[in-house]
């Protein structure tokens, strides 16, 4: 997560960036799922400000618009729209990655407000557990993976923060390893490089692995591992 460019998220949501900055920010959002959720919410919030500005348009506008519509071809759905979407569960916890980044890195300060509690509860329970243990490994392709485990919560969190998304058609996949046997802990969406995954019973695993697999996911990991984090 690039904290510097992300500080523009408010200005972005208000359309207060010039075209160059907007393009840079759009790029940033493609690489940072939690940032995108914040941007979406702030843009939605900005839209609510329009409630303050109702005005009945001149009746002629309706006829003009309907006439124009009759002669306008419609676009199809965006091809990448669904494919780029990470699994629902990943999205659900992604917003909380912001908190995780703040806790883990200590460098990024994000103001998360009270009402986010619902989403953050699961993560917070793990991350604030008195016995939480952090592990961290670099990824082969750049970036890093951090793993937090809490035996008292019998759960853990895997935060993947890769430098870039894998090539087209490939995705990052997370694995837990128990007794030498890997089990999938979820795969990211295509084009996604950052995610936060809560994993039940993670403290009983001996390691966490990260691989690059063919989308949407694999049943067994493909060598070489992007990273292996030994737990315990």
């Amino acid at each position: 997560m690039n904290a510097d460019i992300h500080s523009l998220v408010g200005a972005y949501a208000l359309d207060a960036l010039d075209d160059l900055e907007r393009a840079a920010f759009d790029r940033h959002l493609r690489e940072c799922e939690p940032c995108r959720i914040e941007a979406d919410e702030l843009r939605e919030t900005a839209g609510r400000l329009a409630a303050d500005s109702w005005s009945a348009p001149p009746p002629a506008l309706r006829d003009d618009v309907l006439a124009a519509v009759a002669g306008t071809r419609q676009l199809g759905p965006a091809a990448e729209q669904r494919a780029a979407k990470p699994p629902r569960r990943l999205r659900w916890v992604a917003a909380a990655a912001v908190v995780l980044a703040a806790v883990g890195a200590g460098t990024v300060v994000y103001a998360i407000q009270d009402q986010r509690v619902r989403r953050e509860r699961v993560l917070a329970a793990i991350l604030t557990a008195p016995d939480v243990i952090w592990h961290e490994e670099a990824l082969l392709g750049g970036g890093r993976v951090r793993v937090a485990t809490s035996a008292s919560r019998d759960a853990g969190v895997i935060l993947l923060n890769a430098a870039k998304a894998p090539e087209a058609g490939k995705v990052y996949q997370l694995w837990t390893i128990r007794g030498g046997v890997p089990a999938s802990a979820g795969a990211l969406g295509e084009g996604q490089a950052v995610s936060t995954q809560v994993v039940e019973e993670l403290p009983t695993a001996s390691a966490v692995g990260v691989t690059v697999e063919r989308a949407p996911a694999a049943t067994t990991p493909t060598a070489p591992l992007e990273a292996q984090v030994t737990l315990g």
Binding site: L49, D52, V65, Q74
Partner: protein, 184 residues
């Protein structure tokens, strides 16, 4: 209202012109009102509103419900187009600021949505009142006037990083006050 908009937008995505007519009736006052508030000039506002409404027809299938509400999506397009026009204008002259700077009226005369509309307006105003003065100015100068954040920085005579921060934390506070949530 949000549900109706969503249902209509789905039908519009499949090419239903009648549904588009109903969607128009539902959202046009907001779209036009927002554009007019940003642009001030009524005939320019009409032009841009037409572009925006046709754009909604054209790209209805691109609406992604996991990223926001249908109304939010429509207003994002409207605001963006209005702001684009402001920027284009500013390159030529400072016309927009002098035209009708005193007329902030927002006439609204469709009875059906009057009550909902008023409640919503009151909620937004209350929430805006809950911001610090600097947050409120930073947010409203950008959103209602179409200023860039460097322009807002100059107008308020505060440093750029402060403006960025106030825009962000102001919107966060509004988000929580208005209970806006984007759910996947």
């Amino acid at each position: 209202m949000a549900d109706d908009t969503g249902v209509l937008l789905e039908a519009v995505a499949k090419g239903d012109e009648k549904a588009f007519g109903r969607l128009y009736d539902l959202v046009a006052p907001r779209v036009f009102g927002l554009i007019r508030r940003v642009l001030r000039d009524p005939s320019q506002s009409e032009e841009v509103a037409q572009e925006v409404l046709v754009e909604i027809w054209r790209s209805a299938a691109r609406f992604d419900p996991s990223r926001g509400t249908p109304t939010g999506w429509i207003l994002t397009i409207a605001h963006r187009r209005a702001v684009d026009r402001v920027r284009a204008e500013q390159a030529a002259a400072d016309r927009t600021r002098s035209v009708g700077a005193a007329s902030l009226d927002t006439p609204y005369d469709t009875v059906a949505d009057e009550v909902t509309g008023r409640l919503e307006r009151e909620q937004v105003r209350d929430c805006l009142d809950g911001l610090t003065e600097l947050q409120r100015q930073a947010v409203t100068l950008a959103y209602y006037r179409g200023h860039t954040y460097p322009q807002v920085s100059k107008l308020l005579n505060v440093p750029l990083p402060t403006v960025k921060t106030r825009m962000r934390d102001g919107l966060i506070r509004l988000r929580d006050c208005l209970d806006v949530e984007v759910t996947a």
